[in-house]
């Protein structure tokens, strides 16, 4: 019982976030008459909001260093998008070249900012404010007010799905979508998606059970078998329902693979590697970290370089989804990403926050964006609603912290 309480105490913020996400989904589910959870809308939601998620992952690392933010990411998205248009549409280079050059551009832009922040000690707020102006300016010079069309790989990444290996082979009785009459063409089920979902969930189960056994064999502490089995079964069901849901529409969006990969990589870096641990330590107490051998300058440089790289990824994804480079893309993206991190439980002073939190925060932002668009709410009201959610999320955080200190 005590253990349970301790576990809940340690993880209350994370469960609180998921709870908030579910409440928001139910709320929009009701007021949109279920439209928000239609399979077609779910894959659209993923694509439309991929940029928030990608930027929020990088932003979370910046915030972890000590509440530092990066204001330039929206402009960097625009710069990368313009770069892509110029290289592929104007100069006619292959799209893969455009993508590689875009990524390198983002990385260099990030290193540029990291240099000023880490080695010249210009505060991140100022450095990235300058970056915001500089990168936007370069975008405008490249595009000169024009919109350039994109093609090839960009479109595939932005809008594509994994092709179905066995189209129309799913037996009639499995096509629940058909019975529910959810949308225009529910008679297909995407077999690829179902198979991928099934394999993924089986691999997940095996990995969890295998690591538990090997831990036990090496004498480490493990969870009880009961809780492991409950966890495994729950996730097995969730993964398969989700894949079935997407299979009712066009199947597995390529964007989703990208997002899952980024999530996995950055969770690994943040929690399992030395640089990740140093990041948390310096955000918690920079002086103590330095006196424990953490090279804080190097960390700042790496974090901001990485933010540039991820902004480039977000730029490619956004340009691909819109199938064009445009001068106005990326406006206020930085604010969405920062908001997602704080909704997701990041501390404004650094040292606290998880990649998982950034992802859930991004989804909350995404569901709100999408839901409010479906019901046709004026964008100005949308902006007010998002602002209030960020404010209340952090206020709740402060409140629960002061409670736990008293208790």
């Amino acid at each position: 019982m005590n253990k349970m309480k301790e576990f809940l105490n340690r993880n209350i913020r994370q469960y609180g976030m998921i709870f908030a996400l579910i409440v928001i989904m139910i709320f929009f589910g009701i007021i949109t008459g279920g439209k928000i959870i239609w399979p077609r809308n779910v894959s659209m939601l993923v694509r439309q909001n991929a940029y928030v998620l990608i930027l929020a992952i990088g932003m979370m690392l910046c915030i972890l260093t000590g509440g530092n933010i990066d204001l330039s990411v929206g402009s960097l998205v625009a710069l990368v998008s313009a770069m892509s248009g110029m290289l592929t549409s104007q100069l006619g280079l292959p799209t893969w070249v455009g993508i590689v050059v875009s990524l390198v551009t983002g990385l260099i832009a990030g290193m540029w900012q990291g240099f000023w922040i880490a080695f010249v000690k210009v505060p991140p707020f100022i450095t990235t404010l300058a970056g915001m102006l500089i990168f936007r300016g370069i975008n405008n010079i490249i595009l000169d007010g024009k919109t350039l069309p994109l093609s090839g790989l960009y479109i595939i990444i932005g809008t594509g799905s994994v092709p179905d290996i066995m189209p129309k082979t799913i037996p009639e009785f499995l096509r629940i979508g058909n019975l529910l009459k959810l949308q225009n063409k529910p008679e297909f089920l995407n077999a690829t998606m179902l198979i991928v979902g099934l394999i993924l969930s089986i691999v997940y189960v095996l990995v969890v059970l295998f690591t538990r056994n090997s831990k036990k064999a090496r004498g480490y502490e493990v969870e009880t078998l009961k809780s492991v089995i409950t966890k495994v079964i729950t996730f097995f069901i969730i993964i398969n329902i989700f894949s079935y849901w997407l299979a009712m529409d066009e199947g597995l969006p390529i964007m989703l693979i990208l997002l899952a990969a980024l999530y996995a990589i950055y969770t690994f870096i943040a929690t399992k590697t030395i640089p990740g641990r140093h990041l948390y330590a310096m955000g918690g107490n920079i002086k103590a970290a330095e006196l424990s051998g953490v090279n804080t300058r190097k960390m700042m440089f790496l974090v901001y370089s990485n933010m540039g790289l991820l902004a480039a990824v977000a730029g490619i994804v956004t340009a691909g989804r819109m199938m064009a480079s445009s001068p106005n893309v990326g406006q206020s993206f930085e604010l969405d990403a920062i908001g997602a991190c704080f909704i997701g439980g990041a501390s404004a002073y650094g040292g606290v926050g998880t990649i998982w939190g950034a992802v859930v925060g991004a989804f909350i932002m995404g569901v709100m964006n999408n839901g409010m668009s479906i019901i046709g709410l004026n964008v100005f009201y949308q902006s007010i609603a998002k602002g209030m959610v960020v404010l209340l999320a952090v206020a709740f955080d402060m409140y629960s912290k002061s409670k736990s200190r008293l208790g």
Partner: protein
């Protein structure tokens, strides 16, 4: 009305885990200069913070009677309102404001909420004359030296019509000329304006030359009040400051001292903020394996600066000298290199520089040596849990579990976490800077046991402490430092507190 302007009766003030003041009585006569002396941590500053309302009424017990009336100060403004002003050791001036603006900060000369600059400047000029500061009223404070800033602080207090002036170590940062000027000013204000002064000071010769009465505090208790109108001797005061019993406060041990493991040679360090100022002046020391060496000295003697400059140049600039470990010269350019070379430094300030308060016990312990639990690229969190549990048990860290945030632990248990961190970094040379500051007697004993264990396992242990009994109780040999130099070295078995104190005081007076 009694002869006392101020009486503090039965003051007791507790912090979590420590009693800082216990039943202290302190009486100041009207129109006298009253010195408050005692070792670091004796409770002098705490007592003055109680008096000035920094620790609000209700957070301590006991009575404060000022001019015959009981006072219940909630904030520093309440005490200022009745004419009590305090000048802290760290000056509270705003560097980019002018002298005049600083003098009237929080006490603005205003009409209907609008500042009257003519009046402000006129009064400032008058106050500057009173304190004998020859600077223009519109000079920015950052452009004048510390000695003059101290005078601005006094002018500020006078501007508040203060009748009881408290000065906490006013001459600690001043050179001899500035100190003398300040002391003369205090005497003059005392004579001409009848200002009552309370002065906290470590410099006994200054105390003896200026004070009418001297109150000695030790371990949060009033020991005695001496009348200095009949001159008292320095030794008499020292005896009051240090005379305490040493029965069983320290674990017994038999040292097993081996060969020299670490040497500091011709070590000189300059102040990073003022590259002209020498902070550590040609220090030579050697440390043997299995030996505990104490560094004794007053605050500001340069012990922390020495330790940090050795620890991967974490402090100082223009560092010169050599470090020799196991007979080989080593170069430590950053903290990481120092740790890799087996040097550990436990910081004097646990809260600011020792721990990540918002993180849990286990991740604080492993922070300085994550490499040890990393196979290739991945941190092994299971191993970390085992290590956390191991240290929690070995060092008896009282906590709900290793997942508890260190910010919620008591001072003694926090210190055990910091010790765990540095022991886990497997050092050969362990520098402990005030390892028992601010923790209670029981936890101190446990920490001494850990320190002895470390020495017995063959490490060089260097212990910086401002508590002389502690150094005498636990070290095998000691160096005495003052003003950045080594001014004495002795075997602990041949040392006593009076000798150490007088070596320190004589080495200051001799310069």
């Amino acid at each position: 009305m009694s002869e006392y302007i101020l009486e503090m009766r039965n003051i007791t003030k507790e912090f979590p885990g420590v009693t800082a003041l216990s039943d202290v009585t302190f009486q100041v006569k009207k129109g006298e200069i009253h010195a408050l002396v005692g070792e670091n941590g004796a409770g002098k500053s705490t007592l003055m913070n109680v008096l000035s309302g920094i620790y609000a009424y209700g957070s301590y017990s006991g009575d404060i009677i000022y001019k015959g009336e009981e006072c219940r100060f909630k904030t520093i403004r309440d005490s200022e309102a009745v004419g009590i002003a305090i000048i802290h050791q760290e000056l509270a001036l705003s560097p980019y404001l002018t002298i005049a603006e600083n003098i009237f900060l929080g006490n603005e000369r205003a009409k209907n909420g609008i500042i009257d600059w003519d009046e402000t400047n006129k009064e400032a000029v008058g106050l500057l004359k009173t304190v004998g500061l020859n600077e223009k009223y519109n000079t920015q404070v950052r452009n004048i030296g510390v000695g003059k800033q101290q005078l601005v602080e006094i002018a500020k207090a006078l501007g508040k019509k203060c009748e009881l002036l408290i000065l906490d170590e006013p001459t600690a940062a001043l050179n001899d000329d500035d100190s003398e000027h300040l002391l003369n000013l205090l005497k003059r204000l005392n004579k001409e304006q009848g200002m009552t002064c309370i002065m906290i000071s470590h410099k006994l010769h200054e105390v003896l030359s200026i004070a009418d009465s001297i109150t000695v505090l030790r371990d949060g208790k009033t020991i005695e009040t001496l009348d200095n109108t009949v001159p008292v001797s320095e030794n008499r005061i020292i005896k009051g400051m240090v005379g305490r019993e040493l029965t069983d406060r320290f674990p017994k041990h038999t040292p097993n001292i081996g060969e020299v493991g670490f040497e500091i040679k011709d070590w000189t360090v300059y102040d990073p903020l003022n590259e002209e100022r020498v902070v550590i002046n040609n220090v030579n020391m050697e440390f043997r394996k299995g030996e505990i060496v104490g560094l004794a000295g007053l605050m500001g003697a340069g012990r922390t600066e020495l330790a940090m400059s050795v620890f991967g140049k974490a402090y100082g600039t223009k560092i010169s000298g050599r470090l020799i470990k196991d007979g080989k010269e080593i170069t430590l350019n950053n903290v990481e290199q120092a740790i890799d070379n087996g040097i550990a430094y436990l910081t004097e300030d646990r809260k600011q520089a020792g721990l990540v308060h918002i993180h849990d016990i286990k991740s604080n312990i492993t922070l300085a040596n994550l490499k040890k639990i990393t196979n290739g690229f991945v941190v092994n969190e299971d191993e970390e849990i085992i290590i956390g549990k191991d240290y929690r048990e070995r060092f008896n860290i009282k906590s709900t579990s290793i997942f508890q945030k260190v910010g919620n632990l008591s001072g003694g248990n926090q210190q055990k976490v910091v010790l765990s961190k540095w022991v886990f970094s497997s050092p050969d040379v362990l520098i402990l800077d005030e390892p028992t500051r601010g923790i209670d007697v029981g936890a101190k004993y446990e920490i001494y046991k850990i320190i002895l264990e470390l020495a017995n396992s063959g490490k060089c242990v260097i212990m910086i402490s401002s508590e002389l009994p502690e150094i005498l109780g636990i070290t095998d040999r000691l160096y005495i430092m003052n003003e950045g130099r080594v001014v004495g070295e002795m075997k602990t078995s041949e040392a006593n507190q009076e000798d150490i104190m007088s070596i320190i005081i004589k080495s200051s007076a001799g310069r």
